[in-house]
Point group: none
């Protein structure tokens, strides 16, 4: 039975919703959509399973809500004006900084597919927006010559970052799995400038 520290039932809809979102994001990111069960998520959240359907209609709905939340967070945290030089460091913080656990789920979720069309649209939108910002940080404009090739590079950069996050999270591959923020920063810097600033 779900009890808060006082031993009484929690009665805070918004709080419960958020507990579910947090637990779901972790589970979906770590196990993938299908392998994550609503029961696991509810247990992690310390909340009754039925509340998932109450608040999010269905498992699909919960997944969409997770994606939407990640979209919002990335929209807020990834600053348009972040200069190119800061991006590798920013990503290293994301991958291995003090709040890596939460940040990493943002990236991982972008690789998790539920098969549902609506969720898929949200996911691709986020990826596209994220890549756009990288391109912008690299000083590229939509109308530039070679805009398409540059966008490809931005997307490859993003894909690489997510791939690194995924391999770090899901695989006991050393030294990658345990590399700390500083160890990651240097190669990331090399990689990013090679991809996003090839001409300099």
């Amino acid at each position: 039975m779900t009890t808060n520290t006082a031993g009484t039932r929690r009665r805070d809809a918004a709080g419960t919703r958020q507990l579910l979102l947090d637990a779901a994001r972790r589970r979906f990111a770590a196990d993938g959509y299908t392998a994550a069960t609503v029961r696991d998520i509810a247990t992690d959240a310390g909340v009754n399973v039925a509340l998932i359907n109450r608040y999010f209609t269905s498992k699909e709905g919960l997944f969409e809500a997770c994606l939407a939340e990640v979209g919002d967070e990335l929209g807020r945290t990834v600053d348009d004006q972040l200069p190119l030089e800061r991006i590798p460091h920013d990503l290293a913080v994301r991958l291995a900084g003090p709040h890596a656990a939460r940040h990493r789920t943002q990236l991982l979720l972008l690789l998790r597919s539920s098969g549902d069309e609506k969720a898929e649209r949200i996911r691709v939108d986020i990826l596209r927006r994220f890549a756009d910002r990288m391109a912008t940080a690299a000083g590229w404009q939509p109308g530039d010559a070679d805009a398409d090739r540059r966008m490809l590079r931005a997307q490859m950069t993003l894909a690489s970052a997510i791939g690194i996050a995924l391999l770090r999270a899901s695989t006991a591959l050393e030294p990658l799995a345990s590399a700390d923020q500083d160890e990651l920063a240097e190669p990331l810097r090399d990689m990013f400038s090679a991809l996003l600033a090839p001409d300099r």
Copy 2:
């Protein structure tokens, strides 16, 4: 499907086994371990479901066999002596060349986890061996100074490649999803030399 003159399926254990392995690899790579159903796999292979358990004991066993096969293939195809300069091109071929469909499943499978410990061990072994070869191609030796930092770079390179493969396969993100071999080759070259040959 292989049929004899009587029109019935040939009773060919090895052939049936291989049909299942091929179908399973595609499904596991595309859908992930949990989302791929043995029924789908058997149907794709044009074979009775029960044969999966007969030949591979369980779904787990089938997954392990797929991984093992990928390990063998990579062991054979990734040449020890492949010079560093050829690796980006080789990878571009893998990602977008004429047999990309089959090659890509090799990479994707390396990100698919079943939760089973034995499969996990196989998977990590393959990844490690793969990264080792890249490091070797970069001219690094196990005993070198900075061997650890270099191994990290090799693993990040591998992770990036897999991330690109995954995003291409699972997401309608253009232009990345449809980029052809030549379009991929150039940025891959930049990225690989930045990661594997930072000093030159």
Copy 3:
């Protein structure tokens, strides 16, 4: 919905109770006991679900209360002295007259079973009393010769009437479903006199 000047629902236990009874009767009659959900009923009544348990203890209790109310209404409206000749017309009014919607639920409810023993007893009592009144209207006395055969006829008459009500309500079977009061009256007259006045 009854509201006071402050715009909040009037706190009127009796009124709320009645809103629930009305909504429940409609739902139980239309959908059957199991298919009718307490949430649907509460929503129809414009009332909080929990009040069903507060006022009627349980869904069972609400169903019993509906039946009891129907029993009361039929006891009041079906006049002992109603002459045989008026019964078909009375029934036609019930089935297709201006207040048919509400009247029909009375009949339909008599066919809806919850499986609960107490409700079942109420239901059978109502049916028996209803059939008794028909027999009485036909001029029969409990002690008559052939009392049993006559009671059987009265019950068959009742069953027929309910069957017609049910088929009209639940099935798009034309012309039965849309027949109006006058169209129903004539055949009902024939049927009733054949069953209840076979000797004349």
Copy 4:
């Protein structure tokens, strides 16, 4: 575990299908669509629940199959040429004859609704066909003057018969519930001739 008399698993798809259909018809007829559970049905049939989905896709599908089967049976057994005089007797046999249990479920099923559109269409079709045959037995032709009024009478006759079947089956209302074939035949005769042969 389901075993036949020999203690071995049954391996007869058609037989198992039929066991499920029989059990389902009884349950649906007796309890209604919603109240009947697939688990009950499977247990009655002595068969694993999952086979319902295997053979009928869903509970809905099973219900449709039951209706379709009833439609076929009624199509075969209700003879076009059955003279009017035989119908009441035929119905008495159906309601209270030696195989009443099975026959009665045919009628009851025609009052059970699942809410599914397809099932509803099947149900109405059967009712219409059944009423048509009664009208034909009464010597009526589609083009007759008053065809509509006569069809109404045929449908009311059918509704009455079903109402009697339902009240007999679902309610402990004596003497109706226990009346035997002969006791039912006489009033049925009166009722049917009053409705279907009002002019003679």
